[in-house]
Each structure stands twice: as structure tokens, then as C-alpha cells.
Symmetry: C3
Subunit: 206 residues, 3 copies
């Protein structure tokens, strides 16, 4: 499981940075930075582990994850004022974290032998739920609700890539790389070029 441990570490680190950036937008104190960094960093993976009944949960088995997230929070606390546009940094870091977390979540579910739909959903949960908790708790509009942007779609496509890769290669490493590239590519295309799916066209909601 070394590969997935590495992916978990990477997604914890990057999601923690996004959580701390949200704390900076809410002008919290240093413990607030730590709280949001840890919530965002381990939220999605924790939900994955609880649903798959993996015991203990990954950061309880190895509290070093909490150290990584806390270090990221402190770095942001002391440096965030240097960034010209924190929200853009947040969006792009979130895209990286999404890609890595989807790969970690779908990869773990696949390694445990779950069927394809469960693999896809676990990738989406691990990728999207940490950021969703961050946004709901901090009263930001959830990124997954932003109209005219791909978000859940990227997680869905990346998880599907994990499933497809397993058909053509026995290597979970290659599958994880493919998944992360698909996820990040779609999200980056949406952020940079406005890629989107047709949106539900309706008369104004009633």
C-alpha cells in the first residue's frame, strides 16, 4: 500500500493548504487555520475509510498525517498575505488536491476488490467531500455547486479512468497516474478555458 500512502500524504498536504486559505479568507486565528486545514485534509479520506470499514481510519493509524496538515496550516498562516489573489491560488491548489485524492480514493477501493460502481463513488467521495466539508462549514459557496464549471465531473471521469486502466494494465501506479491526469486535466480545462457540460436549461426555478 506504499503507493496509496504516498497519494494520501500528497492529498492531505494540498487539501490542508486549501483549508488554510479558506481560514485566511475568513480571517481566523492560528487554531482556526489548523482546524480547517485538518478538516479539509482528512475529511474525504475519513469518509472513505468509515464507509469501507477500514479500521483504524488512516490518520488514526498514522497521526503523521495530522502533522503534515498542521505544518501546511502554519506555512499558510505566515505567508498567505504575500499572495496577490488568494482565491485563484485556492482554486488551483484545490484542483491538484482533487486529482490526487480521486486517485487515492478510487485506487484504495479497487485494491480492496470492490466492484466498478463502488470504485467510482469512492473516488468521488474522497476527492470531493473534504472540500465540500470545508465549504459548508466556512459558509463559502461549495465549489461543486459553481455553475458552468466542471468539478464533480472531473472526479467522476478520473475514477472511471481508474476502472478502465485496470482493464489494460495490472499496475495500480499507472492507473493512479492516469486517473490524476484525467481529473486534473478536466478541472484545469474548466478553470482555464471554461470547459463545461451542457447545463440544465430551465425556466426560472419555482
Amino acid at each position: 500500500m506504499t503507493l496509496f500512502t504516498l497519494l494520501d500524504h500528497a492529498s492531505v498536504l494540498i487539501f490542508a493548504l486549501t483549508g488554510a486559505l479558506v481560514a485566511s479568507r475568513a480571517q481566523l486565528d492560528v487554531v482556526g487555520f489548523l482546524f480547517f486545514a485538518c478538516l479539509t485534509a482528512v475529511g474525504g479520506g475519513t469518509l472513505r475509510d468509515v464507509l469501507l470499514d477500514r479500521n483504524p481510519v488512516f490518520w488514526i493509524a498514522n497521526p503523521a498525517y495530522l502533522g503534515v496538515a498542521s505544518a501546511a496550516a502554519l506555512v499558510v498562516f505566515f505567508t498567505a498575505h504575500r499572495f496577490e489573489s488568494r482565491y485563484r491560488v485556492l482554486l488551483w491548489l484545490d484542483a491538484c488536491a482533487l486529482a490526487v485524492a480521486v486517485a487515492a480514493g478510487s485506487g484504495v477501493a479497487q485494491a480492496l476488490g470492490h466492484p466498478a460502481p463502488v470504485v467510482v463513488v469512492m473516488g468521488m467521495i474522497t476527492g470531493c467531500m473534504g472540500g465540500l466539508m470545508r465549504d459548508v462549514v466556512s459558509n463559502e459557496v461549495p465549489l461543486i455547486l459553481k455553475q458552468g464549471e466542471l468539478y464533480v465531473t472531473c472526479a467522476f471521469a478520473g475514477s472511471a479512468a481508474t476502472v478502465l486502466a485496470a482493464q489494460v494494465t495490472p499496475s495500480p501506479g499507472l492507473a493512479a497516474i492516469g486517473c490524476a491526469l484525467v481529473t486534473f486535466g478536466l478541472r484545469a480545462g474548466s478553470l482555464a478555458f471554461g470547459w463545461r457540460l451542457p447545463v440544465y436549461k430551465s425556466r426560472p426555478p419555482r
Copy 2:
């Protein structure tokens, strides 16, 4: 457990329709419809299974549930624009889903031999929590908070009916039907005729 499997399927289908309707109100793309349909459909039952330590969680054991929810999402995506008043459809579908889910939740807890208070709470959790997650994530005002309407009360009464039915009939099927009728009846009375409990009368909150 065939009965409860059937109830779970029915509540997944109807809650998925409500989730997709909320996605249509938020004007999301098709993957957003799938996301909200699945979240609403399996949210309450998942919480029930995690709390009762039923492993695996029902939709991981049988991913066909996700297929049902996804099909419901697609149907709504392509047909919702035909409805004159989506919010009223949403309210009534939610009432049906509530009734079925309360019956499923309280019935499962009772079949597992839990005491009456746990049976009641599990019915309420299974019935109310999927819709609550849908509303919190989508930034709608939670239905359970609507003043002057019965909502949690219906789930409470339905769950209590399950407990009482077990005293007079050995049939879980009859208990489930009784529970669903009580829940839907109260909710329908509240929607159609404005039935309500006395509300806490206060000076303006300070």
C-alpha cells in the same frame, strides 16, 4: 430481509428524484444531477448503517442502488422542464420518500433487536438525513426547518407506529405499511391542510 431491501430500493428511487429536482433548481449539469440524486438517495440509509455498524453499507453490498439513483437522475434531467411547478413536485415526492425511508429505517433497527428509542431514532435518521444533506449542500433552507409544517414530527410518529405495531402484530410487513401510512398521512395533511403543532411562542429572538 427482502421486505427491507424493497423499501430501501423504493426510498432510493424517490429520494433520488428529489435530489435531481434540487439539482435542476440549482441549474447544474448532468453530473451534478447524478451527485445530488445519489447523495439524497443513500445519505440517510448510509448513516443508519454506519451507526448500526452494518457492514458493508447497503449500497456497497449492492451497487444496483446507485444504478437506480442514477437512472432517476437522468430521467429528471431530461424531463424536469415539463413540470409547471417543480417545487411542489419536490415537496410531494419528498413526502413519499420520507414515508418509505422511515419505514425502512425503523424496520431494520427493529429486526436487529434494538430497543424502542433506538428504533425511533433510526427511523428518523433514515427518513430525514438524506433530505437534510441535500438541503445543506445545495444551500436550500432545510425542509425540517420550515416553520408551521410537520416534518420531523411525521418521521417521529411513523417510527413510533413501527414500535407500537410490533406489540400487536408479528408481521414486519404490516408494521412497515402502518409506519409509512402514518408518516405520509401526517406530512400530506401538513402540506395540503396546514396541519401543525403549536410553535414555540416567543418574543423576537435576541
Copy 3:
């Protein structure tokens, strides 16, 4: 585990009072009071038990907790109109509940032999998450987000006190008292005297 059972009972009782007060601010009916009382009362401890894989969850093992929370809800329903300033009562009760719940959460994790970072996080989760669920579901601004107040910080300091106390005394009771005093003292100082940590200084968020 008698000590932690007692602490759990106390935190359930006091958090239930705060949940019912929030229900009174939202002008809900009596079942709404019961719902918010129970959600707030058992939310944090439930999350602790699920994450630590303690089975069954404490209020499923002993439904008397639900009775305590329900009784608290009824008391508030019939007496809250007598309070001049419900929000101040809410803040101070929440401070008491926070102190007791942090002691219960960190103490249980320590008794189970978890390492220090897990003990600290479990104290914070048990203390903060019930109130956070209450605030998110009821659309109040989460107390943990209030600028210029100590909240998560108090839970953090209290949990750390539990860990430190274990170095100097073998008695979990003394550790729990120390933890509760530190948590309540900091929170009370913040409420009464405006104690705070330096807040992240930034240009307006972008």
C-alpha cells in the same frame, strides 16, 4: 469507564439545552426542539465513536442518553420564554458543554491507548462537532467561525491538558478535571474579557 459515562451524560444534558435554545430561536415546534437537542447532544460523541470504531455507539448502547436530551428539550420548550437574553444563555451553556465534552472525548481516546495527536483531535471533535452540526443545520453562523473569539483554541488547549496531565498523574479523573477547567477558563475569558489570539491580518479577501 464510570467517569467517562458521567462526563458523557453531563455533556449530553448541557448540549441538549443549547440545541433546544437554537430551536427556540428558529421558532420550531416541540419535535423540532427534540431534534436539535438530540443532534447537538450526541453529534460530537457519535462522530468520536464512529471514528474510533467503538461499537455500539454510546447512545445506542444506552438509550437513556436520548431520554436525558429529550427531557432537556422539553424543559427549554416550556421555560425559554422566561429568559431575557437567550443568546447569552446559549453562549455560556455552550461553554460548559464544550468543557465537559472535550474532557470526555480526550479522556476516552486516552483510555483506549491512542497516541497524543489522536487524543487531542478526539477531544476537539467531541467538543466542537455537536455544536457545529447544530449551527450548520440551523443556518446559524457557526460559533467556531466567530472572529475575535477563542473556541476551537479552547478545545485544543483542553485536550492538550489531558495529554500533559497523563504525564504527571495516573488519575484519569484529575486529568478530566484539569482539561475541563482549562477549556472552560479560556472560553469564559474570551466571552467575558475578550481574550483572543492574534488574528490573521490580511488585505480584504479576494
